[in-house]
């Protein structure tokens, strides 16, 4: 941007305002501004504009990034792919652990019932779909009404996607899942700004009597389970039991109302 000694053009004035000049050019412009009132007014106005613009558009780096934007980064490369299956392997391990813990459930409650134990199924569904970035849900929360109506119809009961915003979790969406040989399950997924995901799993055809909360807590993930009126419910998430309990209560309270 060096110019012949005598010419101070607009490009130099802009460079002066934007701090994009060499020290020599800056000195030249400063000397010129002392003599040229019009150029001086221009520079002043432009600098005021730039200041006002910066003030009008502050950078908010703490603003949560929408899930849809994060979902774009779906690890396309081979290396990234290898990295991506690590959480799934870990999730399978979790399933094995939760499944072990679920043994008592199956024995105690169902005997020879064809439905796999609720804790194991809910934990499996949780592990599989929360690890998904692009296809975490079948129907997104933007179509919540449709989602709830559809899942209600398929499960044959009026479902609700509980509002968990007070706990910092927003609905991501949901999906329909098979349960056993002939029954169905619904899964609602929630996410907080830190990217932690909860799932609420609701299964049709649950035998046995209504139950109070049962809890499994393994490897950083906690599951709360209960049976109500022929439906099995499971809330699974990567939170500790004391953090999960109020959320489970909230879910329960909203579902019975």
């Amino acid at each position: 941007m060096s110019q012949p000694e005598s010419i101070i053009d607009d490009a130099l004035l802009h460079g002066y305002v934007d701090g994009q000049l060499t020290a020599a050019d800056r000195a030249r412009v400063e000397a010129h501004l002392l003599q040229d009132a019009e150029a001086s007014r221009k520079v002043e106005a432009w600098a005021a504009q730039a200041d006002a613009l910066r003030a009008a558009f502050p950078l908010d780096e703490a603003e949560p990034v929408p899930a849809a934007m994060r979902a774009v980064f779906a690890r396309p490369s081979l290396l990234d792919h290898a990295r991506s299956i690590a959480p799934r392997l870990a999730a399978l391990l979790l399933v094995a652990i939760l499944g072990g813990g679920a043994g008592w459930w199956g024995h105690a409650r169902f005997g020879g019932n064809p439905l796999p134990p609720l804790p194991r199924e809910a934990a499996r569904a949780h592990a599989i779909y929360t690890a998904e970035v692009l296809h975490a849900v079948e129907v997104p929360a933007s179509e919540e009404k449709h989602l709830v109506a559809w899942l209600s119809k398929r499960l044959g009961t009026q479902l609700k996607a509980p509002y968990l915003g007070n706990a910092g979790f927003n609905l991501v969406g949901g999906r329909l899942l098979p349960a056993g040989r002939k029954d169905l399950a619904a899964q609602f997924m929630y996410e907080n700004p830190r990217g932690e995901r909860l799932t609420l799993y609701i299964r049709d055809g649950e035998p046995g009597e209504d139950s109070s909360f049962r809890v499994t807590e393994e490897n950083g993930a906690t599951g709360f389970y209960w049976v109500d009126n022929g439906y099995g419910y499971a809330l699974v998430g990567p939170l500790r039991r004391d953090a999960m309990l109020p959320i489970a209560r909230e879910v329960y309270a909203q579902l019975i109302n």
Binding site: D10, A11, H14, G15, D18, Q20, K42, A45, W46, A48, Q49, A50, A52, L53, R54, A55, A56, F57, L59, D60, E61, E63, V65, P66, A68, M69, R70, V72, F73, R75, P76, D80, R83, S84, P87, A90, A91, L93, L94, A127, T130, G195, E196, R197, N219, G220, A221, P238
Partner: protein, 182 residues
């Protein structure tokens, strides 16, 4: 919490706040701006392996954002009342004295009255702090064009903020549906 750990963030992800800020400056409507950024991110990721200059991530991203935005403007220009692409588009007429103070609302109104490319340039240079060369790359024009656009943009904004009408009364308004597309 190992099973739920996310993979290391992509380098582009660190730029998301800036991209969103710029898109909001361009579009005002936050939802439309996020939609634009979403498009931009998808394209950037798809083109990631063909990226030539590894040093300058930010101008590269802004170039993609700019192209995506231009394409949308072009599509919208088919509809009446949509933003015009004409650089000298005078914008809606305003009554005199409306821009007396450098207040936020006034500034944004004034920005909206600039030609889209001028608005974009003021934001790229003034807010994002891009060098003129980087802004030229982002807008896909020669450096000389950036410098002349910058003068026109700043002078028009100065007039708008000083209380004069941004509309040029001598310039005939184009009829809706017959807007010039370059």
């Amino acid at each position: 919490m190992l099973p739920f750990r996310r993979p290391a963030p992509h380098a582009i992800e660190a730029e998301i706040p800036r991209l969103r800020r710029h898109a909001r400056g361009l579009l005002r409507d936050a939802a439309a701006a996020d939609d634009l950024v979403q498009d931009c991110l998808t394209k950037a990721l798809a083109a990631w392996n063909q990226r030539r200059d590894d040093g300058a991530l930010r101008p590269w991203l802004f170039a993609i954002l700019h192209n995506t935005w231009r394409n949308r403007l072009r599509r919208e220009a088919i509809r009446p009342d949509a933003a015009m692409l004409d650089e000298d588009h005078p914008g809606p007429a305003v009554s005199g004295g409306q821009w007396e103070k450098l207040e936020l609302q006034d500034l944004q109104n004034a920005l909206d009255m600039l030609a889209p490319e001028h608005r974009s340039l003021l934001l790229l240079i003034g807010v994002e702090g891009l060098s003129y060369e980087e802004a030229a790359r982002a807008q896909g024009v020669p450096l000389g064009t950036v410098m002349s656009r910058l003068t026109r943009a700043r002078e028009r904004l100065r007039i708008l903020m000083a209380g004069e009408s941004g509309a040029d009364p001598n310039r005939p308004r184009l009829r809706p549906g017959l807007k010039r597309v370059k």
